[in-house]
Symmetry: C2
Subunit: 247 residues, 2 copies
Amino acid sequence: MANSPSGDSMLDRLVRILDAFDAHNPQLTVSALSRRADVPLATAYRLVESLVAHDLLSRDAEGQVRLGLRLWELANRSASTLGLRQAALPFMEDINQLIGQNTQLSVLDRDEVLIIERLSRPGSVVNQASVAGRMPVHRTSMGMALLAFARPEAIAGYLARHQATMDATHPDFRAEIAEIRRNGYASFDGFIDPQTTGVAAPILDESGYQIAVISVVVPRDSGILNSAALALRTAARGISRALAPAS
Amino acid sequence: MANSPSGDSMLDRLVRILDAFDAHNPQLTVSALSRRADVPLATAYRLVESLVAHDLLSRDAEGQVRLGLRLWELANRSASTLGLRQAALPFMEDINQLIGQNTQLSVLDRDEVLIIERLSRPGSVVNQASVAGRMPVHRTSMGMALLAFARPEAIAGYLARHQATMDATHPDFRAEIAEIRRNGYASFDGFIDPQTTGVAAPILDESGYQIAVISVVVPRDSGILNSAALALRTAARGISRALAPAS
């Protein structure tokens, strides 16, 4: 692979360019892109030129650059998340309508919670900030539900990599995950907004290990936590069944 | 950009690698990938190695390769389609439940119809074949609705690029699109299944030009075409309103 004088491969630079765009920065000038991606300006111009020619980026009349539809198409056409999303969407709609709160579908990826789909509560503003967004594992109900129902070696691996943090924030981690497993759901006071509580139920495979998690955020002390948890567990089972190979 | 002896750039090869995966081939061995992407085997191994290291591809214990979650994340985090999808989803659910047929959301991209979202009819099997799939413009109700409500220069450009085909298949094209504009929707007998009819209504911007199209496929001669068209036009207006900047 071609390396720049700094030993930076073309692919490194490409990933940093794509990574420079996010929900808050859906479009950038080439110079902003060069800064955010830490790529020299001349290289950024050349790379953007090639990426636009391949439709991986698109450029408007004002010179603003954004991700191209072709990139979306390539990434989504055979995405491993597609079957999960399609199976989960009808159940997410049910939860969203019955509980009336934003509903998320998430997976555990590289020690973080990656949000695959989010339905906003009816009538709320369009929220695109969090689809494909990431959240910390040990500070969210989603993350704790995913971890509690992970394979033993995945739990051990996570703990080994984050031991200091977990010792500080979850000294009784083993008891905590045992309780989550017993309850069949996790709840956790709001990470972003302390006035809320997250509730999350795992979607399990046929061996009882998590594939994903479905979750809502409810007002804290609203008294609906138990019923929300039961509804989520019901939806999670429906999704598991929809995903299971027909027998 | 680094070129191989054949003048093939690294980016050309990367795009062909990503393009080799689709809904029917979500995972491939490196040798199948090398064949499908027309990349020499040794190069394919080296490229897969780098792409796996960057999490753009993932590889399982059997050596099967598939797209990585990181690629999905990068492509979706700031996708231009995200706002459209989020605004359209609740209306698509309504149509899907009320009409009881698969419901699609699509855009016009590089002279083809690109499917952004699809909801399967309740109870039908999970269908992941068509999200991010493509359909021909002039043989589908989606494509004809998108074309009829496109900007004049976009219509002229499409006709110029596809004149022979359009002369053969749509000799009265101008009259056809005038009728679609008058009706506010397009219908077209099934491209894949002749026993069905596609019905599509455009989602318009504030100048009256199309942004996207919402469509269903109904059984031919079922007598519900007119009511389906009215429901789709209603949903399309709701989506347009949800997309319009608050005034």
